[in-house]
């Protein structure tokens, strides 16, 4: 527990105004910190909120959290890098998560990941150069009855095969190029 003067100083800092950049997304971080009364213990919750709001954790964001919560930057960085959920690079516009849990594994999820990686020329855990598509894996999504499972842009698809997942991704990316072509003038 921190003493009250320190807590007040924090609050003053917060109340000074919105984030100077004018970026609305900072409000989500600020709200979370305020909800926890700027307790240092809330670091994990604040990181969650930040990632939810920004999509990833940049160095600047870590510095911001460090100064607001008065937690050493090294500690913020240490906590953020410890947990798998936090990512330090922005994800692609579309994201495919392949479950690598035991049930999915014995039903061949590794071949799906491999096939996607080759087909769309993207290393596992990375994003394509055009920033359109990310391929990531997850430790068990808990839909083991439907293994193997792929999550494409938040929608869960059960009983997948390399071919079926590739065609799902192709459909989504095809729509993306259509939009691009339509959007181009003349």
């Amino acid at each position: 527990m921190k003493n009250s003067s320190e807590s007040q100083a924090n609050k003053k800092h917060f109340n000074s105004s919105d984030h100077p950049s004018g970026d609305e997304r900072f409000k989500v971080i600020d709200r979370t910190m305020k909800r926890f009364d700027f307790e240092k213990d809330a670091l994990l919750e604040v990181l969650h909120a930040t990632q939810e709001s920004f999509g990833f954790l940049s160095n600047d964001l870590l510095i911001y959290i460090s100064s607001q919560l008065r937690v050493p930057l090294s500690q913020v960085y240490g906590v953020a890098t410890f947990y798998h959920s936090f990512t330090f690079e922005p994800l692609g516009k579309h994201n495919c998560i392949i479950c690598t849990g035991t049930a999915c594994h014995v039903k061949g999820s590794a071949t799906i990941t491999q096939a996607l990686s080759e087909q769309f020329e993207v290393p596992i855990g990375k994003t394509t150069e055009d920033g359109l598509f990310s391929l990531t894996t997850a430790r068990c999504l808990g839909s083991c009855g439907l293994a193997p499972v792929a999550v494409l842009d938040g929608e869960v698809h059960g009983r997948q095969s390399p071919q079926s997942t590739i065609s799902l991704v192709k459909d989504i990316l095809a729509r993306e190029t259509e939009v691009l072509e339509q959007g181009e003038p003349g």
């Binding site: 240092k40 213990d41 809330a42 670091l43 994990l44 919750e45 990181l47 969650h48 500690q75 240490g78 906590v79 410890f82 947990y83 798998h84 959920s85 936090f86 690598t100 849990g101 035991t102 049930a103 594994h105 014995v106 039903k107 997850a138 430790r139 068990c140 999504l141 808990g142 839909s143 083991c144 009855g145 439907l146 293994a147 499972v149 869960v156 698809h157 059960g158």
Partner: protein, 565 residues
Amino acid sequence: MTLEKLEKMAQRERERQEKFERRVFCCISTACLSAGAGRTINALQEAVDACQCKENDVEVVQTGCMGLCSRGPLVRVEDKSGEPIIYADVDIDVSQQIIAKHVPMGKLKDESVSEDVQEIREKLKKARRRKGLEQRILDTNAPFFAKQEKIVLQNVGHVDPEKLEDYLAHGGYSALGHVLQNMTPEEICDEILRSGLRGRGGAGFPTGMKWNFVRKEESSTKYVVVNGDEGDPGAYMDRTMMEDNPHQVLEGMIIAAYAVGASYGFFYIRGEYPIAVDRIRRAIRTARRNGILGKNVLGTDFNFNAAVRIGAGAFVCGEETALIHSVEGKRGMPRMRPPYPSTSGLWGKPTLINNVETMANIPPIINGGADWYSRIGTEKSNGTKVFALAGQLTNTGLIEVPMGITLREIIYDIGNDVPGDAEFKAAQTGGPSGGCIPTEHLDTPVDYENLNKLGSIMGSGGLVIIDTTTSMPEFAHFFMDFCVDESCGKCVPCRVGTVQIRTLLDKIIDGRGEPEDLNKLEALCHIVKATSLCGLGQSAPNPVLSTLRFFREEYQTLISSQEPT
């Protein structure tokens, strides 16, 4: 709110439910949602609306897991005039067939209904004539259902997880009311001790004993933590419990808090379980609004509040000291024990940490009594265990069986054998901390001691079946990959040992193995097991050791087949 008021709420809800001629339940647990249950429940509701039947003719209810996740979405129809019927693989078409069959179509009171409703009515008329609905009916007398014994999951699949009234109508919070009025904390701990309940997180420590440790600590502040950081790949019992009957877990937690003298509690839930987080939060809010949480719980002088903390994808945080660090917003690394969390836990205060399933066992034990509970199961492992049955089986899903059932019954009766041409090879229990059990040991009764003897563990309840198409060294490698990734890096045996074990496995699988490598591998496994700091490292070699024990010839074949000729 007092207990009497809660009872009135329960009574009102029971009366409301009884008015309905029939109720249609649709599972909205994660597994069924992934299979399209969201569309199914909407289609059911639309069809019911379009029927324009009499008031109290039918109600569509969202509910939790009915067990057979591989056949989802599942829908159950409870009709006053007959036995409940469960339908499997219910898509939009089938849901219209179900409504057309069970619900009498009313006359249109108002001719000016929208075109959509007219269209659905036409579809329902066609659906009535369509055949094939019988094939979707699940036989509830089949071994999958008949061999189970539901205590923890008793109300899962029957109550609406987002409705406190529904839980109350099923007898919810009566155990809490009973202990607050009639039992001292000491009596509760004794009751739990006598019931023989053991920790369902995997280690199997007697729950009553743990409660007594915390109860006897003298401290003005104590905490209760529900461990919902279900990290084992292939396991989703705790998630189902939190998603499908959150109030039962919460009730167990409040009873525990009263028994040990805690005034604040945390649910630590895996970040990958957004629906569970949402439903537990909702349960906490409703409980608080109705006087079940907060100041003067149910009108007594007991105060207790709870909050949710979300994990961030670290398997090691299931270990209790690591979990404590994570709740405190730090890196989730374990520390030496003692001191145990019961003496020095969250912020240095005595803390009770129990798994979700353990907590969910508490209300039934209080309601049924320790004597009743201790008669279920085997001599040293009482009660039931929930398993997530997955992998190469015809029936996969969530099951609850009495301790002491054999693996053979689970796999061949409940799971209905391996599909296709392949044959059963091994049952993997306990995830990356457990082992593989081969055919010759299938008649072993499932309990804590027997699984340990086989080099596996009960674990939190993941049970993955593999068939003859899986190579065991490769399977062991899969788990070692997991442990290398998840090792927190604090202690050397785990950080370095797991990497070295994996390197040896790589060498063997790639065909560069030498005969003495198997002995090296075994020796290394024993060192990591004996010297690691926490449960993760101590159990990480189990998958390798158990496959070496039962499937050694597969390793040997890999080594000998690659020797130069």
